[in-house]
């Protein structure tokens, strides 16, 4: 039933999102927007060399997109840029393929139910699209353009 999608961890993170704050000393940020539902997200990342030291977000969105941003920021800390991008690939695969190659996504596995709700996949991936933009933008500051899920 609907609990396959709204698992306890997701409900918990949507009601009490972690790392939900602006970050003054972030050196990378990006904005994400899902025009279909109006979800908006601002992502802050603090890199030290190649390492994600801290990540946070502010924005408004549905339970899935809020929980996804919350769990993503938790999982990023301590990862290298390359590891973060690999995690992004695995997460995307988890949501869009029937037989994802990797099952070692830890807590992020709670999003596997989203696969059965195609209309909601973009809610879960908004934060990750935004992360890609933040990490791949030029120079120190990430992309100036808002990424959209469309």
């Amino acid at each position: 039933m609907v609990h396959d999608l709204y698992q306890e961890i997701i409900l918990d993170h949507s009601k009490r999102p972690r790392n939900c704050r602006a970050m003054e000393d972030a050196n990378r940020h990006a904005e994400g927007y899902n025009p279909l539902c109006g979800d908006k997200l601002k992502l802050f990342v603090k890199m030290e060399g190649d390492l994600v030291k801290d990540a946070s977000f502010v924005g408004s969105g549905c339970a899935i997109s809020t929980a996804s941003a919350s769990l993503m920021t938790e999982s990023l800390k301590g990862k290298t840029r390359q590891q973060a991008l690999e995690l992004l690939e695995k997460f995307h695969e988890l949501l869009t393929t029937d037989t994802p190659a990797s099952q070692d996504l830890g807590k992020l596995m709670v999003f596997c139910g989203v696969r059965d709700y195609p209309a909601r996949v973009k809610c879960a991936t908004l934060a990750w699209h935004t992360l890609k933009s933040a990490l791949s933008g030029p120079g120190e500051h990430g992309s100036a353009e808002t990424v959209t899920t469309e």
Binding site: M1, V2, L5, Y6, L11, S14, K15, L36, C37, G38, D39, K40, S60, G61, C62, A63, I64, Y117, A119, R120, C123
Partner: protein, 415 residues
């Protein structure tokens, strides 16, 4: 929870009507389907499905060309829909009814054909704050091309247009006013007759987007004195891909063709082409013949029930639904116009519409969530999106009870 106090008339035999709609007899995720998304598209009765099937099985041929029996049958059936549309809208003549793909194409036709010929730099086009994107963007494109100015009639917190402000916007530069008869996102029924008279006084023409009005209330283009009136087949229980543009003969005659091709011409040489008469001048290429025939069956179906009866029953459902939803803590209706069609658009504090939509869907309840192709309306009410339950004459008070109970479950989950 007790049921609302509003009495819904037993005189309207909704149980009998529901038997005409095969799609309603199904379960979704193990629950009986509760279809509350008729403003997006209305369901189709057997009569429409049968008319389309009959065309493909028995009469299938191209129209306006062949001398053979099948072509004559299909031409007659297709053209009969034009006559039905004339009666449905109370137009003066069949030649004032143009077949189009839908309301969107109808608006684009007028913006492109009439607009390009008549709108100049410095002119003004007026739209309203509650328009669907399809009645904003074609005018924006025209204004951009011509250096004209788009002006917007504001609305109040109930979702009603402010007529004093509208009056101030009208001036000798106003070429055309484009407005919805009924708002898709809010349900507001605009005072179009009065607004058309005001525009005419200022020397402007009026296009009415009737997509949300035609299924729910009796439209009389002569009484309204509308210059252009458009509606979509699929919202009046007909198929998708077919719709009607009404235009006054004098206006249509003076307009250049919209698209070139077969059927819209009288003679073609490489030096010069002469165009066909109305309405064919605007109908290039083989049209959606099956859709046109299906639309005819849909107009017959609605007419047999009676638009006045449909409007009265839906109004009772609206009152019933408004009361049922008003009892839900944290729920706020978006769109509370005094004149309103059966649209229940709402937000619930702390719960995103998409989560509401997903949880309702799992209970078999189909609603629309999002901005309803009316982002300026969402901005006006400072919400990113709403959940919209839109009702039709085949809905029942029991389905509204199911919606209210469903929202109760949503609140339990996200409390």
């Amino acid at each position: 929870m007790s049921t609302p106090s509003i009495q819904v008339s037993a005189l309207f035999d909704v149980d009998k009507i529901r038997k005409d709609f095969p799609v309603l007899k199904q379960t979704v995720h193990g629950k009986p389907l509760v279809y509350l998304d008729s403003a997006a598209t209305a369901q189709k009765p057997f009569a429409v499905i049968e008319a389309i099937r009959r065309f493909h099985e028995v009469d299938c041929a191209n129209i306006h060309r062949g001398v053979h029996e099948l072509s004559q049958r299909s031409t007659a059936a297709y053209e009969e829909t034009r006559a039905k549309a004339k009666r449905f809208l109370n137009a003066r003549s069949k030649s004032e009814l143009i077949f189009v793909r839908g309301t969107t194409e109808a608006i684009n036709l007028v913006a492109s054909s009439w607009g390009r010929k008549n709108v100049k730099a410095g002119d003004e086009i007026v739209v309203t704050a509650l328009e669907h994107h399809s009645n904003i963007v074609p005018w924006q494109m025209l204004c951009e091309e011509k250096g004209a100015r788009l002006r917007v009639v504001p609305m109040n917190d109930r979702g009603e247009l402010i007529l004093e402000e509208y009056e101030k916007l009208l001036n000798p530069r106003t070429r055309l006013v484009a407005m919805a008869h009924v708002s898709n996102a809010l349900g507001t029924i605009n005072p179009v007759r009065e607004m058309i008279a005001m525009a005419h006084k200022a020397g402007a023409l009026v296009l009415v987007d009737g997509a949300q009005a035609a299924p729910h209330l009796k439209v009389d283009v002569q009484a309204l004195d509308a210059d252009f009136y458009a509606f979509s087949g699929h919202k009046v229980c007909g198929p998708t891909g077919i719709g009607i543009l009404y235009g006054k003969s004098a206006l249509l005659n003076a307009m250049p063709p919209y698209q070139g091709g077969g059927d819209m011409i009288r003679t073609v040489t490489f030096e010069k082409t002469t165009y066909n008469d109305l309405p064919y001048k605007f109908e290039a290429g083989t049209p959606n013949i099956a859709g046109g025939i299906g639309l005819g069956a849909a107009l017959d179906y609605l007419t047999a029930i009676g638009l006045e009866k449909i409007a009265a029953y839906e109004h009772e459902l609206l009152l019933y639904g408004t009361e049922a939803l008003a009892r839900i803590p944290g729920l706020k209706m978006i769109g509370t116009a005094r004149e309103k069609a059966a649209v229940l658009s709402f937000v619930i504090e702390g719960i995103h519409p998409h989560d509401i939509g997903t949880v309702l869907d799992r209970q078999g309840i189909a609603v629309r969530t999002g901005h309803h192709c009316a982002q300026p309306v969402m901005d006006r009410f400072h919400v990113p999106a709403t959940t919209r339950a839109s009702l039709a004459f085949y809905n029942t008070p029991a389905e509204i009870d199911a919606l209210a109970a469903g929202i109760g479950k949503v609140r339990e989950l996200f409390a």
